[in-house]
Subunit: 418 residues, 2 copies
């Protein structure tokens, strides 16, 4: 066994120990920790920016502009982190007040008690804000966390994790509430995938292929998040002016995220009228358009889409357009290409909406609104762990309760089974 293997086992053991402590903190104590984090980050803002500048400088040549933007911290981004911590401290306790209890026929009392999951791990790309965010969400819900961020952010992540661990130490808590894996090789991820005895949940955040790798290889429980090849179907009866606004917002407002639209399906009956207007707006907004044969026949400003396009999440200012014969073909097409994230219909037909919503298998199905609303804050959850594209445990935008489970407590008086 390698040193890395032993190191990660040790982190698992320390995490389990820490999780017993976090699970028993009162909500006041958990919130005190979050506020201490906020103060500690605030006091070290300049230092964090200095350390982050080194990470950014090292990867300026090799990272895409989008990835650079994610890696780079600014005073505003750090202020956002601090505000998020303080806002999180104000949210209700995800462990409180939801216990159910009843008396079994055999006589004993059963309490269904909400409990933290225990030890949660998060594997993510070079986004240092996730380090703070994930640690805070874990502690708010009574969990310990093991973090494994992208290699490009290793200086920033290590520095931030140190700040948080010192804040824990000053409050006389175990520093192991938060542990950061500093080995940024693939091996450390693979060790986490098999840390079954100690990890209660692993949440991967990153590219679709990375998440696929995790889901296929993990022996630990995983929540799939984030892959979003989101479609918008524009029905024959759609309000076409409104449709252009919704499509533009869904594609352009933040193209690098999983709830941005990637594909358009256009009802054949309106394609000739609608596509030229739509394309003018998209091109003006800097969007590259790819299309199927019929689309290009109608408006040659679209380039030919390849087979691969229909399953690609661009996360960029690109969109692919297909003309469909109607609702049924749209549903069939989506069922072949959906990542089960967000799928939208623009229509005036309540009947078509109902059929679309019943037959499309996605976490969020949308009628006449932007796909960008698939978001924990927009939903009013006050926090977001990620967006689950699986059906077990948690689906769609996940609030703090996604980091909880329950246990049954039986209080007996000598009952035996007949």
């Amino acid at each position: 066994m390698t040193k890395l293997h032993d190191d990660i086992i040790l982190m698992g053991q320390r995490g389990k120990q820490a999780a017993i402590e976090t699970a028993q903190l009162s909500i006041e104590d958990r919130n005190t920790v979050l506020l201490a984090f906020a103060n500690a980050i605030q006091a070290k803002t300049d230092k964090i920016l200095q350390v982050n500048a080194k990470d950014v400088a090292e990867y300026r040549q090799t990272l895409s502009l989008t990835m650079q933007k994610r890696l780079e911290l600014t005073p505003i981004k750090i202020a956002d982190m601090i505000n998020s911590l303080r806002a999180l401290a104000k949210l209700p306790d995800p462990l409180a007040d939801r216990d159910e209890q009843w008396q079994a026929a055999a006589g004993f009392k059963i309490v269904k008690k909400i409990v933290p999951l225990g030890v949660v791990a998060m594997v993510y790309e070079a986004r240092p804000n996730v380090t703070v965010d994930a640690a805070a969400l874990a502690i708010k819900s009574g969990n310990a966390i093991i973090l494994r961020g992208g290699k490009e952010a290793i200086r920033t992540n290590s520095f931030i994790a140190d700040i948080l661990r010192k804040a824990l130490n000053q409050l006389n808590y175990s520093e192991d509430f938060i542990q950061l894996i500093t080995d940024t090789s693939h091996d450390s991820v693979d060790e986490l995938l098999h840390l079954r005895k100690y990890l209660d949940l692993l949440i991967p955040r990153g590219s679709g292929s990375f998440i696929n790798h995790v889901v296929k290889n993990a022996a630990v429980p995983v929540i799939e998040t984030g892959a979003g090849n989101d479609h918008i179907f524009v029905d024959q009866s759609a309000d076409l002016e409104q449709a252009i606004k919704i499509i533009l917002n869904s594609k352009v407002q933040n193209p690098s995220v999983c709830n941005s639209a990637e594909k358009l399906l256009i009802h054949a009956e309106i394609a000739h009228e609608f596509l030229p207007k739509l394309f003018s707006s998209l091109i003006e907004a800097g969007v590259e358009i790819r299309g199927d044969e019929k689309t290009i026949q109608i408006d040659h400003r679209a380039q030919a889409a390849t087979d691969a396009d229909w399953d690609t999440e661009y996360n960029d200012l690109i969109i692919a357009v297909k003309v469909v014969s109607g609702l049924d073909q749209a549903i069939d097409w989506i069922s072949q290409h959906t990542t089960h994230h967000t799928e939208a219909i623009l229509t005036k037909s309540a009947e078509n909406t109902e059929k679309f919503m019943n037959n499309v298998d996605a976490a969020v199905v949308v009628e006449n609104a932007s796909t960008r609303f698939t978001d924990g804050f927009e939903f009013g959850f006050g926090a977001e762990i990620g967006i689950s594209t699986q059906k077990l445990h948690a689906r769609g935008p996940m609030g703090l309760s996604a980091l909880t489970s329950y246990k049954y407590e039986i209080f007996g008086h000598g009952e035996v089974r007949k």
Copy 2:
């Protein structure tokens, strides 16, 4: 690709198609199906017994007595199946009346809608009653199911599946609500483990090592069930007469199941008084006792336990006993050897119960009652899918709601994100 691979893909596709249909059945229609199943089984009782007799005859030499009992159907067991179907038809709809809805700050309406999972697979041992039970639970909750039972029961399972499929056909429903895999090689299980595009859940039922194999190798979502290395800790303050009754019931009432007790931890202060009395009762009930060194010193009727004993689920009339210094050692020991199923404390100290329940990480933690109460029917759920030993989605005894998920439906009026 093999023919088996193609066959199972095809079953996945058919399952998905069927699941669209099952999801839209009213609760009245789903209950009608269950009652039709009951009538069809009843009409074919004699034939089922004849077919089952062939399975039993073939494996009389090779199966353990316990396994033979599970494989063998009797008129009483078939009457139980029929009664279970009729009782299930009377249970409330797991898809009904739990939808939440609210208005988002941006204006649109969000409906959190309870939906079936879709296509569920169950892999199980040679227990033909599971074929009926699993199919019925799936349909009651609006799902389609793919069944893969043990090879010893293949004639019985095929015959029963045919009866159920014909009943569906007579009601003009798709027979593919229920599909049975007749290939009983390991390959068919491995194909299921990778049927990611079509399976929404796989539930393995069987030995601990089989479930481990499934969890480690599955790319599809899995709920771990059933492994139960359940401990009872007898505290210093326990009512010792009551303790003997609870231990006997926990071990003897049905030793082959996951909620039977497998290990005893005895507080050192009471061991000399308690063990001889306990052992006399256990031996009288036919239980073989294994013990650690201290146990054997106190009562030599226990044989020496090996290291492997402490992690073995006997599922038989065997129990292993260890003397511990007190609550803390009991908790530590359990944390090393628990399968997170059911763990019990016998005590008069509410303080010790609280510490035990907070620190022992199991689906069900029990004070002063039999471990055998970890059961969906005893809990009052009216049905049981299995007993989950994981923390995500469902934990402990699972009722029908474990076979449901939810989706978010957004109803907008042109809203876009700011």
